[in-house]
Amino acid sequence: MLTYVVRRLVTAALILLGASFLVYLLTALSGDPLADLRASSAPNRQALMDARSSLLDLDTPAPVRYFKWLGGAAQCLVPFGNACNLGKNIAGQPITEALGFALVQTLTLVTGATVLAILIGISLGIVTALRQYSALDYGVTFMAFLFFSLPIFWVAVLLKEFGAIGFNDFLRNPQIPPGVALGIGAVLGVIAAVVVGGAAKRRLIVGGTVFAVVTLILIYFSITLWFRNPGLGPVVIAILGAGIAVGITVLVSGLKNRKALQSSLIVVAIGVIAYFAVQPLLNEATGLMIFILAVGTILIGVAVGYFMGGYDRGQSMRAAGITAFLVGALVLIDRYMQAWPSYFDNSRVRGRPIATIGAGTPNIQGDFWVLSTDTMTHLVLPTIALILVSLASYTRFTRSSMLEIMNMDYIRTARAKGLSERSVIMGHAFRNALIPIATIVAFDIGALIGGAVITETVFSVHGMGFLFIDGLLHTDPNPVMGVFVCVAITAMAFNLIADLAYSALDPRVRIKA
């Protein structure tokens, strides 16, 4: 095992050397760093060209420059040496500093989107696999391919136009005409009918219910100007919480496990009580406090499950823990909604909350809720754009992986011994289907660090992708190399982790040292 890891690391280092040499040479060859000066009419054109040449060290041949760069980069390997030197970019900023900043920007931008895309993608993949060749399957496949085919800058422009500018205009007077409410209700009703599957009667009932409920809710929102002063309140939290409790229990243990259901419901009750208890505390919230509260919430849920016990204590704990987390999230959402009016009326926001660019409103002031709402309103559009275009690969991969598993012998065996469909899918198929997906996810993390180049450009976020493209357009190898090294190391590290995890997850795979 250890020898295996060591050997992988040595190979990785060699690969990194080779690839970095290649990237350096290619970047240096890719253009003329003096292009903008050559046609300049400045009387001191030559002096400016000389200055840039000496800044970029252009008189040294590119391969030699690579080794100079490597010499500086090698110092990064010295632990706590603080001598890391990846060179400077054309603006004179050290690359290490630029990278640190860009990395934060990129991670803020893509983390949420990637997590959500994975969650939604896997869920859709499983559902479509279970309903292979149904209307739902075709519909999701079509949508997935359609979004995959859309250039992201296009998606982004549309999102800005309708998701930000349109929605902000709507918020000025958030009234939904009854016709629109009916239309949205009808669309969602049809979707629900398609999703639910089964007999026509069942579809009709579900679709009709969704249609009625959605339409009524929208009309209610419109009358009360809910979008101006949103909020859930304890009653809605209780109702939603109960629904979540049942749903989670169905997935985790099945409703037959009464103890699990009871623990989940108890957790919901505790959540509603806690809703009142934590309000004063939440008024003084910080990020750390929210985190501690989240952990505490899960622990309480698990504890409730533990004490309720039942024939399968683990299932109760899991069901209650997940329910607790989700109810906690509802309370949090409610608190954000309470903060919404103060964010909305903030003098910096001026009643147009959804932003089209950047990572935050400059100079905004306010409490934790206002500030984090600000971050979210800036992230919402890029996140949606990224989810839409990356959904396809997760959906399709999960679907095929799931289909493959569902045809396995051990699934047949599981069915043969009379297990319920729920435990076949959740207990046997789903987990195994996740194994290959883990590889894909690990592979994507490298690309993720590399930055969503185009998304960054469109939403003017200056992350890793921007650093890279800007370096390339100036034919300045230093930033390009900085980004590349980060991406490559992350990608290789995660591949190794994925391989090791693979052998841990899949007993058929053994690592030969």
Binding site: R38, R52, G92
Partner: protein
């Protein structure tokens, strides 16, 4: 106060709560007072690039945004208005020509002008600027690779290199420059639009005792001589290093002396690559007094994103790189109260003909020029942006300058107003010269101009070769031959005449098509030593005519300049040069 920093600082939630409430007390969480008086308010301006240094004069830091921020946070003896006049700021100080022979200019800084740390602005600050701009101490010889180049100044030092070490007087408030021969652009050589590097800070950071020590030291150093290079002077090196890179930053420096202001605004906060905020400098009273309390600059690269940000209220003033579609989009916003201004930039595209190959014969050049559909090019490329756009009719002036109209009338450009295929055919006399046109293939305007010229020239019998090159290659090919004509752009400096001989004088640094005219050369020699502006105009008009008479090529059109601002803001005015809308930022006001 972002929450991240606080959460790091405190361990447990209770303490966090305390800290936060304490913190919330001073930041208020509420709106800053707005609109109480006519003064006040805020505006958000969009720029493309992000600030990376507080010294915009260095070769690496000389980008538009650095200059603009410097312009708003520093003041000087003059600024340039949107009619391209040099406007003196007498409240800051006085500068005047005391003698014509030798040319002597005296700069006097008023009492009371001070940096934002309280130190007065003195002649030492001006002296430092002179040392950097003149390259006085440089003894580097790039060919022989000897000597040292100290201050890495982005601008042209031909004027100030003619000066001796200046004389400092009036209790360090005045500085007198003596030129060894007349210099046409003396008015814009020094002292404006901003004196941006504080000498007292630089002296201290470079290890000198105080400003006086710096002045004494500089006085003691002789002029650098490239023929006789000296070893690197450590003190001078420390000073120039500080000047070159000491003010580089992308975040607000912890040390406030690194971003001192002596102008209307002070930088208050910087969010790396996202935004920059300036607030009013309360002490400032030595120049136009600004109206807004706060200006925020946001960095947005693409024009459509800028327009959408304006539409969504995230930006108040934008000046996007305009295309017809951006402009249409902006016009649609007029219903929302947005005001759109359009005009010309100093940048213009032109067609140059090489004085070699098929174009060695002036008749062929003239014939080719007759075929160029200038009106069509203007209409199709910039007509949508600016319906009043006309072909540019001078090689030297732009319509913003007073002398343009007169020069355009008399320089002979009238012969090339309309396409004259028959005239061209007559001149060609049956010949079918093969012409290779080089241009930047990655610039759609140039590609379109080429397409239209090819279409028309072919009719007269020219055979047109497409010599277009990619963005990174066409610049290198300039002046190397291998083509007969080229389409590219110049930026007219707007103020000053030093650029003219660069392009049009025999063997000038940017004379890519080998135009050579002894009379014109003579006129240009006179031009650069003429200090009187009206005489300069006269000479330039004569040069313009010589250029047109020799069928040099054709100026095509000026780039279109667009700005737009929301209904919250008033006072924004178009400016053709690189200062852009910023030129009169003190007139911006919130409604």
């Amino acid at each position: 106060m972002r929450f991240g920093r606080i959460s790091k600082a405190v361990g447990i939630a209770a303490i966090a709560a305390l800290a936060l409430s304490a913190c919330a007390g001073n930041s208020g969480g509420n709106t800053p007072s707005t609109g109480a008086s006519k003064q006040g308010g805020s505006a958000t301006v969009v720029e493309v690039n992000a600030l990376n240094t507080f010294n915009p004069n260095t070769a690496d830091g000389n980008t538009d945004i650095n200059s603009k921020i410097s312009y708003a946070t520093h003041s000087g003896f003059y600024y340039i208005d949107n009619k391209l006049n040099v406007v003196h700021n007498d409240k800051f100080g006085k500068f005047e020509k005391v003698s014509d022979n030798p040319l002597t200019v005296k700069y006097t800084i008023n009492d009371g002008v001070k940096w934002s740390d309280g130190a007065p602005v003195t002649a030492a600050d001006l002296l430092l600027q002179w040392a950097a701009f003149s390259g006085y101490y440089d003894d580097a010889d790039p060919k022989a690779k000897t000597g040292t180049s100290y201050f890495s100044y982005a601008g042209d030092n031909t004027g100030l290199s003619l000066t001796d070490f200046p004389e400092i007087g009036d209790n360090n408030q005045s500085l007198t420059l003596k030129y060894s021969k007349p210099f046409a652009d003396w008015e814009i050589a020094l002292g404006g639009p901003g004196i941006d590097v504080p000498a007292h800070v630089l002296a201290q950071k470079a290890g000198l005792k105080d400003t006086q020590a710096m002045i004494d030291f500089m006085k003691s150093k002789p002029r650098g001589d490239t023929k006789n290079p000296q070893p690197v002077d450590p003190k001078l090196k420390a000073m120039s290093d500080m000047w070159n890179t000491g003010f580089d930053t992308k975040t607000l420096p912890a040390d406030p002396t690194l971003f001192l202001s002596n102008g209307p605004y002070i930088v208050k906060s910087m969010n790396q690559d996202q935004s920059l905020t300036m607030v009013r400098n309360k002490d400032y009273n030595w120049g136009p007094i600004p109206s807004l309390d706060e200006i925020t600059v946001r960095y947005i690269g693409s024009a459509p994103a800028q327009v959408q940000a304006l539409k969504n209220g995230e930006a108040d003033i934008i000046a996007p790189q305009a295309s017809a579609d951006t402009l249409d989009q902006l016009k649609q916003l007029e219903s929302q109260g947005v005001t759109v201004d359009q005009g010309n930039q100093l940048a213009f595209d032109h067609l140059d003909l090489n004085y070699t190959g098929p174009f060695a014969d002036q008749n062929v050049r003239t014939a080719f020029m007759k075929t160029v559909p200038r009106k069509d090019i203007v209409n199709k490329i910039v007509g949508k942006l600016d319906p009043n756009a006309k072909p540019l009719d001078s090689q030297i002036f732009v319509p913003q300058q007073a002398a343009y109209a007169d020069s355009a009338k008399n320089n002979g450009s009238s012969a090339y107003q309309d396409v004259d295929i028959d005239g061209a055919k007559k001149l060609l006399n049956g010949a079918t010269p093969e012409i290779r046109i080089m241009y930047n293939k990655d610039n759609p305007n140039r590609v379109d101009a080429f397409s239209l010229i090819r279409e028309s020239a072919t009719k007269a019998g020219f055979k047109i070769d497409d010599g277009g090159l990619g963005a990174s290659d066409w610049g290198k090919a300039l002046g190397k031959g291998g083509y007969d004509a080229t389409i590219f752009g110049w930026i007219n400096p707007g103020v000053g005449v030093s650029g003219v001989p660069q392009i049009f004088k025999t063997a000038g640094g940017n004379n890519f098509n080998q135009f050579s005219n002894p009379d014109a050369d003579k006129l240009m020699e006179d031009l650069v030593v003429t200090t009187d502006r009206s005489k300069q105009d006269d000479l330039e008009k004569q040069i313009d005519k010589k250029i047109w008479d020799s069928s040099y090529g054709l100026p095509l059109f000026q780039s279109v300049n667009v700005d737009a601002y929301s209904d919250r803001i008033t006072g924004v005015k178009l400016m053709p040069n690189q200062t852009g809308v910023w030129w009169n930022f003190w007139e911006w006001a919130q409604k």
